[in-house]
Symmetry: C2
């Protein structure tokens, strides 16, 4: 089997991890956490969201966070942007990259964005063009690629169509989301086979959730398909608001542990990652879900 020599991990914890946290995290604590993450060797951190605070109150301090953090020149600091109004705030906060988002399934897109897919695309196009015009690259999150909580199975051809539209706009990377954590390795193989016929692998990143425990198994197959960019959230924070107690995002520390063990270079220092995990665990005031973190805590006792 052939494994990539190195992998890029995109840390989404400060945005995807915290956006559904019931406990409000202080702005200064978010800033301290991002500063800790910036020292771990991660070279990409999605720090917040410029979605209107009415929808995501937990990230209402987006501008303050983006302006308050210490910028490490080796790190790209990105933020979620839903529309031109959000873009304006993101540019004011001087993020390095913007991220747009939509769903591959019509019903999930409607429930999440309150618009049809056909209505969403022109709005995103404005954001992409506005970002690029301001010298900011754009990443796109595509949700429900492997299944939808409302529609069930999602047609890979539909994923191709929407991906094509997003890349046509000028998006530099697509993050393919298993939003409800139902993907399995054989399905990942099938979907990637279809997508890789249409798009270069450098344009694709995987965003797995560990809801049913399969996230790292899906990473394995993706690595074998030569995908080298993965999203994750430190400690497994976030990702599954409708299922309290269930695991959400793939945990950065589990991913780093596995890849480092395999000799796949992530550039991430495990000890610093553990420090950042311990910091945020105290702030969210509940145990982190990641296996590696729990194992390290347990053996430390």
């Amino acid at each position: 089997m052939s494994w990539p020599k190195e992998v890029t991990i995109k840390e989404v914890g400060p945005r995807d991890g915290l956006q559904n946290e019931i406990k409000m995290i202080k702005t200064e604590d978010k800033i301290s956490w991002i500063n800790e993450l910036s020292e771990s060797g991660l070279n990409y951190i999605e720090i917040t969201s410029f979605v209107h605070p009415k929808w995501i109150p937990a990230l209402g301090d987006a501008v303050e966070v983006a302006k308050g953090i210490k910028r490490n020149p080796d790190v790209t600091y990105a933020a979620l942007v839903p529309n031109l109004k959000g873009l304006e705030r993101a540019l004011e906060a001087n993020v390095d990259e913007t991220s747009i988002f939509m769903s591959a399934s019509e019903t999930h897109n409607k429930k999440n964005i309150n618009k049809k897919i056909a209505e969403t695309l022109p709005i995103l196009k404005e954001v992409v063009h506005g970002s690029l015009a301001s010298g900011k690259t754009v990443r796109a999150y595509l949700s429900t690629v492997f299944g939808c909580s409302y529609e069930g199975a999602v047609d890979p051809d539909q994923v191709v169509r929407v991906s094509d539209a997003l890349l046509e706009m000028g998006v530099s990377e697509l993050s393919l989301g298993d939003t409800i954590g139902v993907a399995n390795p054989q399905q990942v193989e099938q979907v990637l086979e279809i997508l890789l016929k249409q798009f270069p692998k450098e344009k694709l990143a995987m965003h797995f959730h560990n809801t049913h425990g399969t996230a790292l198994a899906n990473v394995v197959v993706s690595l074998q398909m030569d995908i080298t960019t993965f999203d994750s959230s430190l400690g497994g924070l976030g990702g599954c608001p409708y299922a309290p107690g269930a695991s959400g995002n793939l945990a950065t520390d589990d991913l780093v542990y596995m890849l480092n063990g395999m000799g796949v270079d992530t550039g991430v220092k495990e000890d610093q990652l553990q420090r950042a995990a311990a910091f945020i665990e105290e702030k969210v005031a509940k145990p982190l879900q990641s296996n590696h973190y729990k194992a390290c805590q347990a053996t430390r006792v």
Copy 2:
């Protein structure tokens, strides 16, 4: 990629899952649980251990359990046997198969069995020959194949030597244990490549722990190497006494969820497995660790 059409899952929960439980489970509850498991489509259950109750008090009722359960003719009921005294009790209880155990690393073997490897092998040989003479097949658990809590890395050549000795005795299957849950997919590939040069794949089963979240990722690579027998414990019970709070055995329900999703036939009915999981969760009086179980519980709320 090629995936096996079907896989055999060997349920070790009633033995490996319960042996370290602090809460003593009533004999009648163990019997009821095994009876539930027997209806799930699993065709192999390790029901108890005939290690002296001084060492494993939680399974001191081995004979009562083995005699009390309702035997489903489609299920093989196995039990752990450490020596001739244990074999005598196992034969009295009429188990279908005996399992012996030892470690690939010298220090772990010494700490666990209080004997050197060279001293352990003759005792196991007696058990194997005694079992076979009584018409009972024998399975062997080999611990610390992928790493040892005392010695760190374990030499695959040492694994080959001990495996060879066990198979020479007449053992019908070797269960290769990642006792401390440190294996990674690339290592699984390397170790299996070495072992499969020496032994037929039908003789090998994998026994992964999910301590660091990598168990299903390791299953994926094993499947690709055409291994088709896996040990697991319902709900992820057991497996890591020295690390309370950490995940232990690979959870049967996570494994079944992934394999069923991949179209790999396990013969296991998920709904009945969930019923058996809910039953034992109540008896151990603590939340099960398996992701799939937690996700199902959460969405049911």
